[in-house]
């Protein structure tokens, strides 16, 4: 029986939010598998710290014109994009009604901002890249980094809605783009030990959370990155939301 081929030699991979945390782990893992990596991130300082062989573009993923210019630049430099990892995002906690604050209702501007960062940016980037994939007839793959919160997580109205939207994108685009040989998959992490998770949750919240995870531990970034590599390499996964959550159900 032949071994699975996880080599990504000659593949061009674009990772949004790839300068730190999950995105960096994914970028490094795909690079180790042989892919040429382009990282788009809005953090100039962290971009500078990346490996020299990574191509880097400093853009905010919600900036439509900036993203279009960056993707056009990537296309001119590399000729195509085979792999898009929509990873950029921001965890945000706020309940619909907060009974401990004078302004009880969820801040609408914050809601819109979180939808913009976590969902609308995925729409913009995917549309731009999928268009190039169709024109160039690239049989590529789009991997959306979703979240266990897509199932509805108390205290994360905007973030949960955004990630549920990302899951809907995944299933819709898998159907629309599949005939062109373009696959769309989501990887849906549970609680992963990254700076953004530890910043978003207090120590006591993390402790009580870990007790609810059947494996009794947080995941790590490589657990997610290896799953991404697997779904990128597997040519028959399409439209699936792959959970990486230690067995946790919200």
């Amino acid at each position: 029986m032949s071994q699975p081929n996880l080599s990504l030699s000659h593949k061009i991979a674009l990772v949004t939010g790839g300068a730190s945390g999950l995105g960096l782990a994914i970028a490094n893992t795909l690079a180790e598998a042989g892919a040429t990596i382009i990282v788009i991130d809005c953090n100039q300082t962290k971009l500078k710290d990346l490996r020299n062989d990574f191509q880097k573009e400093c853009v905010d993923v919600t900036d439509q014109e900036g993203m279009q210019a960056a993707i056009n630049k990537v296309m001119n430099a590399n000729g195509r994009i085979d792999i898009l990892i929509n990873n950029a995002g921001f965890i945000y906690n706020e309940p619909l009604i907060n009974l401990t604050k004078a302004q009880r209702q969820h801040d609408y501007n914050a809601y819109k901002k979180i939808i913009d960062i976590n969902m609308n940016s995925v729409f913009l980037t995917s549309a731009m890249v999928a268009d190039h994939m169709i024109v160039k007839r690239t049989k590529g793959v789009i991997v959306n980094i979703s979240s266990i919160s897509a199932d509805g997580n108390a205290g994360q109205t905007a973030y949960s809605a955004a990630k549920a939207g990302v899951n809907a994108f995944t299933k819709t685009w898998a159907k629309e783009l599949g005939p062109f040989g373009i696959r769309v998959v989501a990887v849906s992490p549970g609680f992963i030990e990254t700076p953004s998770t530890t910043q978003a949750l207090s120590e006591s919240m993390l402790d009580s959370l870990i007790k609810r995870i059947p494996l009794r531990k947080l995941g790590n970034a490589l657990d997610v990155a290896h799953t991404v590599l697997s779904v990128v390499s597997n040519q028959y996964i399409n439209g699936s939301i792959i959970p990486v959550n230690g067995g946790l159900v919200l």
């Binding site: 169709i134 024109v135 007839r137 629309e176 005939p179 062109f180």
Partner: protein
């Protein structure tokens, strides 16, 4: 070639073969929307072993136009059988 094309269009548009003709335009075909356009492209490319340019894809809004586009690629869909 024309019969092959018409059979393909009949399948993609979910219409009877006898109802497919050169004068058919997009507005005449109930099912011919943006999603069916994508299906049309993949079926034509697979059926005639060609790869259409994005401009040609965008221009295909009638059976006559499809025939003209195929002609550019050396597929003589205006020739019966």
């Amino acid at each position: 070639m024309r019969e092959r094309l018409f059979q393909l269009l009949s399948k993609v548009f979910d219409m009877r073969l006898g109802d497919i003709n050169e004068s058919l335009v997009k507005e005449d075909v109930y099912k011919w929307d943006s999603l069916v356009q994508m299906e049309l492209v993949t079926e034509i490319e697979k059926g005639f072993e060609i790869q259409l340019s994005i401009d040609d894809i965008m221009s295909m809004d009638s059976v006559q136009k499809i025939i003209e586009v195929l002609d550019k690629y050396g597929v003589k869909a205006n020739v019966p059988a």
